[in-house]
Symmetry: none
Subunit: 196 residues, 4 copies
DNA sequence: GATGAATGAGCCTTCATTCAT
DNA sequence: GATGAATGAAGGCTCATTCAT
């Protein structure tokens, strides 16, 4: 019932629109038109505009978080874990460019939320930061990283990733971007045993 | 005409509200009430809601950019210049917390703009990145920094600053935050001549 | 789309109101209520209040012009053509009293127009005058009328018709009114070959 | 006090604007600007916009009516009286073109009025028609005119005058216009004793 | 008296949401 | 289930009017 394809089709169309325009600039009619369904159909899949919006955002962050956790699990060396996670984020947005601006904007608002949706989003966001922070702490215990404020440094890493993704494509591929981020970040947290 | 005080009063009230809620969630009536003026008064200072919104954002970024340029000029040593600029940003948002989320959100949308306002904002933003990039390049020529993608690395620094500012205040003061940012950033770009 | 019945229903209600009150005294809400539709429905048939207003007027003048042309075609004798046209106008307003004051008011403004609507109206009005003027000129060529300023005399006839229609009904029927107008007009333009 | 010059200045400016645009399209600010006074000043001469509007119209019709009565008194021959009155109207609008459209529009609405202003206007209008009708009746009793519906025929004459005035100036002067009107009207009401 | 910034009631218009088909 | 015309609450904006200077 209510074919999940239809639902995905709507979410995709909505994502495209919400990326370009402000929440209030995107009309339900625009979404319906873009998804090639009738306006009423939107309401048999989403209870209201807000929910549709947050379902777009949640769908994205959930998928991203899942990949992040998976990456972290697929390596044991902290630096490799980190590279895996950064790669997951960069690759995710390379494949899902539409979500990037959308999530960045929501990120800016996070913790402003009084609505349940906003709170739920904030939780997801913290989960992501937490996943990164854990890797950092593990690396610190292993003596590979110098970490003082794990959460803040996880946030810093997220910020760096966002910045690199936001930078106008200078013809850089995914791997190059990952390298830049990792190098920038690591040479700060890496224990430079070589320096006396 | 129409007392610039009144204008400032409105901008301040609007900033407070736009920080907390989405554009469409902030009513002109709310702003009027918060600024303790009549709704009509808003329209003798700003042509419409959009302009009021962007004037809030522009006011903030212009003041910040001015301080940034000033900081850069007040030092000669690249590292000191950098510290000065980071300090300017951190201090600015410490004093003007209301603008932080607002500008971060607009940042996320930057370059999405078809409206003149949005384009104007994007220009201001580039100006800021450029100011940082110049310092980085100067430092690179002086042999103090290793810079490969000046603009991107300037963006990375901006991203780091935002991340640190966004992190829930763990009781950290301005100077401590500046130190964290600078250290994180510098140990990546600093030329570790000590490593053989 | 959007049932033309609905549209007609709205136009009728609007005509009734615009006849009685000034443009700014008629609220969209009044029209909606009178047409027994929701306010929003008005906007799916007319782009705004102005257009609704002019569509009322245009609808009327177009129908009237059509009848006028038809009348002119249904007779060959100039005097009969004239009687037919006068009858068409008088009968039209007898059947559509609501449009009378409305069109008279718009008539007064005609040529003041800077708006497209106003210009379009003026064109329609000229068309009507022209149709009458042609009959007058044909009659002149046939030696039945003495015409010196065809357009102005056509306007005069229109003015007379309006005056008679405007005069408070003294219990006069359509035909009586037509006779009064025709007699008043004809004995002035008719070639009194009897007078030496 | 409140210099009557100032008042006249305002009325003149308002007349100019109300002639061109709809009541709701003319702003108090426009009038103030055109009259070169402050908005507030308007309110020390007129209690509100409506009153200002009707004072413009009343001023015009009163002056016109006065001239009409005077003309009627200055002749004894019915045809001369009629010529005098027509001349008065045509000359009045030649000198006060601004009032023409204004009064024509108000004419169209006359009797629609529920407001005191509108009723007062209607009374003035009837006075004018009555003045003409009296001349017609006197002429009828003198055997010069054939009058059956004095009031309606007075209205017809007014309508003819309006039509001629409304016709685009074909380079016709006041006297020529008066002649056209009089000839058109008279040859209809004049008793053609010459026709056997 | 004159001024024009400030006021706020009021109206046009939009658009999320509903529901008969 | 899908549709899209209809709905009407909500909100941006205007502008007549006021009143402190």
């Amino acid at each position: 019932m209510k074919s999940p394809d239809r639902r995905a089709q709507i979410l995709a169309a909505a994502a495209r629109l919400f990326e370009q325009r402000r929440f209030d600039e995107v009309l339900m009619e625009d979404i319906a038109k873009a998804a090639r369904v009738a306006k009423g159909t939107l309401y048999s899949h989403f209870s209201d505009k807000e929910e549709l919006y947050f379902d777009v955002v949640f769908g994205a962050i959930c998928r991203l978080n899942a990949q992040l956790v998976q990456e972290a699990a697929e390596a044991t060396d902290p630096a490799d874990q980190l590279r895996g996670m950064i790669h997951a984020i960069v690759a995710f947005f390379a494949d899902n460019r539409v979500f990037f601006r959308l999530m960045a904007a929501e990120d800016a608002r996070s913790a402003t939320g009084r609505s349940d949706h906003r709170r739920r989003w904030t939780r997801q966001r913290h989960e992501q930061t937490h996943a990164i922070a854990e890797v950092l702490e593990a690396g610190a215990e292993a003596g590979v990283f110098r970490i003082r404020h794990a959460n803040m440094q996880a946030e810093i890493l997220r910020g760096m990733v966002r910045s690199v993704l936001m930078s106008p494509a200078e013809g850089l591929g995914v791997d190059e971007r990952v390298d830049i981020i990792l190098k920038s970040f690591l040479e700060g947290v890496h224990n430079p045993s070589t320096s006396p």
